[in-house]
């Protein structure tokens, strides 16, 4: 028996193309900004107020401003156009790329697989995440571990900046780590590791409680993914503007 003969790719009458288009545009804009700032190699540290942009933290190479290298300079200066963030960006990018929410977002928006529900995809063949390279999405939890370490470093940077007083930059750094922390904690791998993998919650009340709390955050994983991504860029922009002298930091306590 054959399927019903319906030639149209979709019969949807709503603007199904708008969400993938918006997602694509958003991810593209953020990628361009992040690439520009990564390879700019400057304006990442405000010496006067100890603001370090999260995109350059930790700053581990010899070309880093010494005061910005809170954890030492482990690597020699990088050759050519390479800048300090290229050491940490793969982990941050890996965490976002393998994230269950972003997978949905870019599979739909960038690969049209599918572009929207009940809209035919343009590919002749589909193997999903059964083989290389997409089978590597199963490494998400390792990027979660790495991102958690980087989050702790970001928190350390934000706390350290309070040593010079209190300015708008401190608040921005604090909100940034709050959003990054909420996004990281709401991760599906985190939910699984905390308690999801258990068969008997009743035998592990603490892990069950943790799983319950993470599940609440996990319901907002998409919103947290976008909020944290956008706010990282805004935090970086603020630090860059202050570091370059374009604007001055709004100080509350000196």
């Amino acid at each position: 028996m054959a399927r019903a003969e319906i030639a149209a790719r979709t019969l949807r009458t709503d603007r199904w193309w708008l969400p993938p288009l918006t997602t694509f545009a958003g991810l593209l804009l953020i990628s361009i900004y992040a690439a520009f700032r990564t390879f700019q190699g400057d304006y990442y540290w405000v010496d006067q107020y100890h603001y370090l942009t999260p995109m350059y933290s930790p700053c581990l190479t010899e070309e880093c401003v010494p005061a910005a290298s809170h954890f030492g300079q482990w690597f020699p200066a990088l050759p050519g156009f390479l800048t300090p963030p290229v050491i940490i960006i793969p982990f941050l990018l890996g965490f976002r790329i393998t994230c269950y929410y972003y997978r949905k977002a870019y599979y739909r928006a960038a690969w049209a697989s599918p572009p929207a529900c009940a809209v035919a995809e343009p590919h002749n063949k589909y193997t999903g995440e059964t083989r290389f390279p997409l089978i590597a999405q199963n490494l998400h939890r390792y990027f979660f571990y790495a991102a958690s370490v980087l989050l702790l470093i970001n928190i350390y940077d934000a706390v350290l900046a309070f040593g010079t007083g209190l300015g708008l930059g401190n608040i921005i750094l604090l909100v940034n780590v709050g959003l990054l922390g909420a996004y990281t904690l709401s991760c599906h791998s985190c939910r699984h590791i905390a308690g999801g993998r258990l068969k008997h919650f009743s035998k592990h009340p603490v892990r069950y409680w943790a799983w319950t709390q993470i599940s609440k955050l996990n319901n907002r994983h998409m919103q947290l993914a976008w909020a944290s991504l956008i706010f990282v860029c805004l935090t970086d922009l603020y630090v860059a503007l202050v570091a370059s002298g374009t604007i001055s930091d709004l100080r509350f306590i000196d």
Binding site: A4, I6, P114, C117, A118, Y126, R141, H188, H192, K199
Partner: protein
Amino acid sequence: MTYQGRFRVWRGDDAGGALEDFTVEVNEGEVVLDIIHRLQATQAPDLAVRWNCKAGKCGSCSAEINGRPRLLCMTRMSIFEESETITVTPMRTFPIIRDLVTDVSFNYTKAREVPSFAPPADLAPGEYRMQQVDVERSQEFRKCIECFLCQNTCHVVRDHEENKEAFAGPRFLMRVAELEMHPLDTADRVDQAQDEHGLGYCNITKCCSEVCPEHIHITDNALIPMKERVADRKYDPIVWLGNKLFKRS
């Protein structure tokens, strides 16, 4: 308020078919299934449609309305503009029988491929005891009414007929998750999910969750937790090492 609504309904069988235009009376408070019934009563007595409870609980009247997989009985006419032409078509993923009725036996084949509940050998029926917190994850999946809208909308089989053999679909991967998370099930479902039911085909684009009339979080609560369990088993050397060192099964 009564008005004359414009409808396009797919008529045909496996030899071919087309969308046919109808103008049908629509009354306040009606759902799309009411209109299809009025169409049968007044203009197309041989129009085939599968339905039963008219209450969103039997899962019979699955179809596509304006291209979106939905239950005919749970789609209110009030969500459409009076001037709108409403298109009603059968589910695309399954073979057509006639008009709005499809052959959903693919799903019964897949259901039979999932090994049934396997309680401990030393536990007789009537002796099952479990705590609510241990069983509530599985209970969410028991809300499924087997309308197969998730199976219909999943692009893995909707757009690729050839994947039907390897992929069980969201409904039955959810069934595997339901048993895997059940406190008294002893069968090993993790390898099966990946190797026999095609969990790896799922790219978590969440259309199954979007169309579920019972609002089950199929992707977040069943498919992703199963993917994480597969990652534990197959792709996590730390867990593998821990299992070896501490002799965990």
